[in-house]
């Protein structure tokens, strides 16, 4: 046995499974080490492969992994039940520095499974004394695709939540439209000093940042989280590299003033 082999996964018990939609479940896993929102684990199903999955929640002796069923590995994860276990390695990456968002106005914009990595940040924002200065804009494809419904209700009471869907059946009472539509109207006192976090699919991030810039945000106050293909999480496999940056090591969370120079 090699000493501290970083490729060797450890078994972690599935303590609970929370179903959000037919294709997205949160697996509550036993985990005791240090971890922060924005970091990720490699979830391993022997003989099927590994998939990088963000930490969507952190608690005493637990981490939540919210997984969308899309392929070889994730399909197999969905065949596992409470009481069984998954193999994990990690956590990897830098994660969010929550301290940055304590004072002043903050806007978090997240789309789809992009909510997972910032869920812990939003949770923390909702518990801050000036939570009324914290704005969260969350978008899902449709009302059926909504994740974290219980959280959304709780957040709506504590901070300024805008919940929207890209499209909805006739008669839907909530907001309809992309997250980008709601940025211009955010009631901010001083956008030039406000901080923002943007996480979601690449086009969503791109257009959200353009809206934030129009609103008066400075690039250096915007934080983004990136996804790339990752086979190791250790700076070896090379797939996640952009310029001289390894997303798995130096990220996935970046200051936009730095990340705006990424050329894929």
């Amino acid at each position: 046995m090699m000493n501290g082999n970083p490729y060797l996964p450890f078994a972690s018990e599935i303590l609970d499974v929370i179903r959000h939609t037919g294709k997205e479940y949160t697996f509550r896993m036993a985990f005791d080490g240090e971890v922060r929102p924005g970091q990720f684990f490699e979830v391993s199903i022997p003989k099927f492969g590994e998939a990088p999955i963000s930490v969507s929640g952190i608690g005493d002796g637990i981490v939540d992994l919210t997984i969308r069923k899309v392929g070889r590995v994730t399909n197999e994860v969905f065949e596992r039940y409470k009481g069984q276990s998954l193999l994990l390695r990690g956590p990897y990456g830098n994660g969010f520095d929550i301290g940055l968002y304590r004072d002043g106005e903050v806007v978090v914009v997240a789309g789809g499974t992009g909510v997972s990595p910032v869920r812990g940040v939003i949770q923390a924002l909702s518990e801050m004394p000036d939570a009324r200065d914290k704005h969260v804009v969350v978008g899902f494809r449709s009302p059926d695709d909504m994740l974290f419904r219980e959280d959304l209700k709780a957040w709506a009471e504590k901070l300024q939540l805008t919940l929207t869907v890209d499209g909805a059946p006739e008669g839907y009472a909530g907001n309809i439209g992309l997250v980008t539509k709601y940025i211009e109207g955010l009631p901010l006192k001083d956008p030039a000093s406000a901080r923002a976090i943007v996480v979601g699919p690449p086009p969503m991030m791109k257009f959200t940042i353009i809206e934030l810039q129009k609103k008066g945000f400075q690039d250096c106050n915007i934080t983004v989280s990136h996804e790339r293909k990752m086979c190791c999480g250790l700076g070896k496999c090379g797939h996640c590299r952009v310029n001289d940056t390894y997303i798995c090591l130096d990220g996935p969370v970046f200051n936009y003033e730095f990340a705006r120079d990424f050329v894929d």
Binding site: K47, P201, C231, G238, Y246, D261
Partner: protein
């Protein structure tokens, strides 16, 4: 300490070494070259000094031993995960100066990028001692002098130069002297491994590649010329990328393994993410990504150039795309921008 001997003497040295070492060296393989009527020089484990190719430049690089094209990392059974075994016997790895310089690049990624060392690489690396093959002349497409990798003053246990049918060896590591000194007819002599001081191909690399070049049309011609076969990556002594691959055994679906296989940033699938996402769809963009890694991005992170100028990527390309030409184009375009 230097020794000069005939081939029979050298065969004795190798025979003696084979008792303690596994030896991996360039060997000639029929019909495995760029085209099927061309021989290739590949890396293989040898059993006899006669197999070692000392004259031709190898088409493949010593990473064939250190990072095999496919390597099993873990074995899975019903409820057990087991690390793969490894033959721990020491290894002698033959290579030219550029090849020995390439090992620092491999070490950089596998041992020193990020907080963890790669134990599967490290166990191979630790077993390796290098043998330097001297270069009596430059080969096609070599530009090692421009890259500063034309010469090795250390990092090898002994050197081998074949000159007029005699083997000249400089033995740097004292513990290897015994293998040479006892060979009948071996002359003790000062020997310095040969190295080249000039190549036909020269490159100039801009100190910094301006952003305009990154986005420029210079790369477009490769979108049509390059057929993204990835061979340039597979022969490159400094390319390290791999993809993880799990398999289960067809005769026993409950058991299987996790391997890593060599990956190429030129080949489809390298950037694929779930839901059909893909970066760098065009071959021109992939060429930009590869070239700038070799001559700019790696250096920004680690302080020295990745490319060692071996020219193997040019030797192998079925479309006759020349990497050194691209470097010089980037240089000329960079100057234009900066002027």
């Amino acid at each position: 300490m230097g020794y000069v001997m005939d081939r029979a003497g050298f065969a004795e040295v190798i025979a003696a070494l084979l008792k303690d070492y596994r030896i991996f060296a360039p060997v000639r393989k029929k019909g495995a070259g760029r085209f099927t009527d061309v021989d290739a020089v590949i890396y293989d484990e040898i059993r006899d000094a006669g197999e070692i190719e000392l004259e031709l430049k190898s088409d493949y690089a010593p990473k064939e031993f250190l990072t095999p094209l496919s390597e099993t990392l873990l074995y899975f059974t019903e409820d057990e995960v087991k690390e793969s075994d490894f033959d721990e016997r020491p290894v002698l790895l033959f290579g030219r100066s550029c090849d020995l310089h390439s090992l620092r690049r491999l070490d950089q990624i596998y041992l020193n990028n990020g907080p963890a060392r790669d134990p599967f690489y490290e166990r191979r690396r630790k077993a390796v001692r290098c043998v330097l093959i001297g270069c009596g002349h430059s080969y096609d497409n070599c530009f090692c002098v421009s890259m500063g990798s034309n010469r090795c003053d250390d990092g090898y246990v002994f050197s081998v130069d074949l000159i007029d049918d005699r083997i000249h060896s400089n033995v740097l590591d004292g513990s290897f002297i015994k293998f040479f000194s006892e060979v009948p007819g071996a002359e003790e002599k000062d020997v310095l491994p040969r190295f080249v001081t000039e190549n036909d191909v020269k490159v100039e690399i801009p100190e910094e590649v301006p952003r305009e070049i990154v986005r420029s049309g210079l790369w477009d011609e490769y979108t049509s010329r390059c057929i993204n076969c990835g061979r340039c990556n597979f022969v490159c002594p400094t390319c390290t990328c791999y993809t993880m691959q799990d398999v289960f055994y067809s005769d026993n679906g409950r058991a299987g393994e996790r391997r890593r296989v060599g990956a190429s940033c030129m080949v489809d699938g390298y950037t694929d993410v779930a839901g059909g996402g893909q970066y760098r769809r065009k071959n021109g963009e992939r060429m930009r990504f590869k070239v700038l890694h070799k001559i700019s991005d790696f250096k920004k992170r680690f302080g020295y150039q990745m490319c060692v100028g071996c020219g193997r990527c040019d030797d192998i390309c079925p479309e006759y795309i020349s990497f050194s030409n691209i470097i010089n184009k980037v240089n000329a375009a960079s100057r234009e921008v900066q002027a």
